[in-house]
Symmetry: C2
Subunit: 474 residues, 2 copies
């Protein structure tokens, strides 16, 4: 396809589509945000050369580019704005290399995260970051949002696993950042800067990521508490005891009730109140010893505690957490928020969320990566007619559907109160999903005007003409 008047860079042959079906399949992510207007078309890139050609064209013509992987984002970052080229890199899905000695993989951006983890498994290694969407999201998308997940409690977020990147810049030029080395202080940390930049600084076309040995053992402990405060205190006591769980997931009472609406009451809690549920895993060669210590700490916090004796029992305990999001999605469209607070403020945050839900008469269910202080308050709203949930599993996906305008004022007021509360507790707007479009409104409150101004200038260094995901992130 030619550029304007047949001159200048052209879109790569066989890659660019404008048919309604392809365009419709590439307009939304899983945030529920529906952009106004329609994209110009979709580029289904299969190579670095394709990406470079698309960027050269976009640069020459001033066309916005919205890069996407699997479109599983929850903040609207991959929503296709009017007149944009959607640059879909999901077909660039090769694992180029796995080095057992250097414990790293070199991958294309469209590799599904779980596929990488599985491939690493053949070498006794794994890719540690495990966003809930791991089975459907791509490494490129994980890098764009600096995705978190359950195992961050011990292994950190995506940024902690990215060593080096190949990035196509706004004008189509290709650069490399970082190295295959573990340590690297040569120049500014552009690798860290691109990670979490939501498609606004360049297009990641290759990544070198850390792999880690599969732990020798994993042990699972779960507990029911009378209230969230006890559960949060128990999590802090586990950390204070010098233990570092690999997973520490908290469900509040409302979420538990939604789960039990599906499963019936969990016989394990034997009629006691289900004020909070905590799922903890320890891994490594000391996993079992640590699980015993964790069990003791939880019991000392007046919980009903269960340590899994075998894999089947572990799976049954994990199931309570796994069923939470599907249980909420039965009730309506789930808007998944993503605040983070200092760990010491976790209980306060959950209790505040419960108060906010009451005040604004909005159902809010809270799940948290407790050891990180990362909370997902999930607001459930009525599903707009003619749309479906878009998720049927614990995929980390929010519901697609109606545009924001359809949400009631009370929903926005509740969201606003939640964000304001998080900032008030020394926390932040987003722990692992990104700003996208949905959180831009609160960005200056969080960062401060001068910080935000610096971020915008920094963005302009990488994208002077403003073609990379305009209207998103900072």
């Amino acid at each position: 396809m030619s550029g304007p008047e047949g001159r200048g860079p052209e879109l790569p042959d066989g890659v660019f589509r404008t048919d309604a079906e392809t365009v419709d399949a590439h307009r939304l992510d899983r945030s529920g945000w529906v952009p106004e207007g329609r994209p110009f078309g979709v580029a289904l890139a299969e190579s670095v050369a394709d990406v470079r050609a698309v960027l050269r064209y976009a640069h020459a013509t001033g066309t916005p580019v919205v890069t996407r992987g699997a479109g599983t984002g929850l903040s609207g970052g991959a929503g296709a704005t009017d007149g944009s080229i959607v640059l879909d890199v999901s077909r660039m899905n090769r694992i180029t290399e796995i080095s057992a000695v250097d414990q790293l993989a070199v991958v294309e951006p469209g590799v599904i995260t779980a596929d990488l983890d599985r491939a690493a498994g053949a070498y006794g290694l794994r890719y540690a970051p495990d966003p809930a969407s791991v089975a459907i999201s791509t490494i490129g998308g994980n890098i764009a949002t600096n995705a978190g997940g359950l195992r961050c409690a011990k292994y950190g977020v995506t940024r902690d696993s990215v060593l080096a990147l190949d990035v196509v810049l706004a004008d189509g030029e290709l650069i490399s950042t970082g190295h295959r080395t573990v340590k690297d202080v040569t120049g500014y940390d552009l690798t860290g800067l691109f990670t979490g930049s939501e498609g606004t600084l360049g297009v990641v076309v290759g990544a070198t990521v850390k792999l880690r040995p599969v732990p020798a053992a994993t042990a699972t402990v779960a507990a029911y508490f009378d209230d969230v405060a006890s559960a949060a205190a128990a999590v802090n006591a586990i950390s204070a005891a010098g233990l570092q769980p690999s997973v520490a997931e908290l469900l509040d009472a409302a979420t538990l009730a939604a789960v039990e609406e599906v499963t019936g009451p969990d016989p394990r809690r034997a009629g006691r109140a289900a004020g909070a549920f905590l799922l903890i895993q320890a891994d490594g060669s000391a996993a079992e010893a640590e699980a015993r210590q964790i069990h003791a700490v939880l019991a000392a916090h007046h919980a009903q505690v269960f340590t899994a004796g075998d894999d089947a029992e572990a799976a049954r305990l994990l199931d309570v957490r796994r069923r939470a999001l599907p249980a909420l999605e039965r009730r309506g469209r789930a808007l998944i928020e993503d605040i983070a607070v200092p760990r010491s403020r976790l209980a306060e945050a959950v209790e505040e969320i419960q108060r906010i839900a009451k005040t604004h008469a909005v159902p809010v269910f809270t799940m948290a990566h407790a050891a990180d202080g990362n909370l997902h308050p999930i607001i459930v709203v009525e599903r707009a007619t003619g749309t479906d949930s878009g998720t049927d599993s614990d995929s980390g996906g929010g519901a697609q559907g109606a545009p924001d305008g359809d949400l009631g004022a009370n929903v926005w007021a509740a969201a606003d109160a939640i964000f304001t509360m998080a900032l008030g507790l020394g926390g932040t707007l987003t722990g692992e999903h990104g700003i996208g479009v949905l959180k831009r409104k609160w960005l200056a409150d969080d960062l401060g005007e001068r910080n935000l101004d610096l971020q915008r200038r920094l963005r302009a260094v990488f994208d002077p003409t403003g073609i990379l995901n305009p209207g998103k992130a900072v």
Copy 2:
């Protein structure tokens, strides 16, 4: 002190010094690099207000500012260039807060790293990064260079422990980056960007850093090998076995010979060749079990292996490593290089360094953080008359002394060959010391022109008039 013609911002009273003694005490770092000319004066900042006043003055007058902590840098980053204000923040040395629950500390930049670690100890916590200079270097300096250390093998570099920063910008305005939260994807990662930026983007006046529980136990294993290749293979086998040592230090034959010149032959190696020495520590509740596994792996690599039965024996094994730098400094001025390579290329790198030393007839001794692939090839040159070594302990300090011009052409040729070799192996110029002035020559070779150009533009966003540590880093 007034600004030009008594108008505009002024330097803060009682803070700015121009006397020769103060100026001379603040001209150099420990790299050996001697800047031409003399600084304008030294500001001994005691508060954020002092730093802001200095920056406002510098901004108004276009005066370069060279920020320094303890001046222990090894790349010339804190060398005081002609006409500059040296901004010494070492008096800002308060630990503002230690939170046991959130496992973090809030500190001023002049806090000595070991002091923070000690203070954290009272809460059963520690500050993990431990550059060799830990007893004399400051947190601010560690942040400026993204310092590493021995324990990075398990706990990462300084950047992995920095959660949030307070930074005075080039025009004197104060911003905050990051949060007290473990997870944070709100905007670009400015915290990571400032970390390792060598005083070129702003002046860090406060930092929130992660603390970690003091490990339940630490176990120490050491081994002599016939050659470096066997030692490197053993390190890789340890990683492949899923073990993560907290320390993995390698000494090559030349370094061992220098140590034994002081101590006499180590009776432990019982007359066998000392081709390489490896010191390994494991920590955590499984430390002893891991040490047994490590012992077995080392023995399988034909090493003479010793596991410390008690603290005294551990100290004796650690002593071999601890004595290495002082032993080299007895022989002359030690120029400490700092390349990093993929771990799989460690043996090749050491062997190449030995070849380069022979080719250029320059004595080069190699110590390495082996699990990170981070090597310190140390070139020992004749000490210039009238200067002293500037170090008398394993402080991580290089020697102060003669300007670079006094180094022979063969020294530069050897250094050049070492850097070129590191890049050829997929490595980088510096793993933990920074670019400073001494490595700028090779920067474009490492990063590529376009990457370097982006870094320079990025720098200009933060420092449009070029007053922050001009001539250093990117």
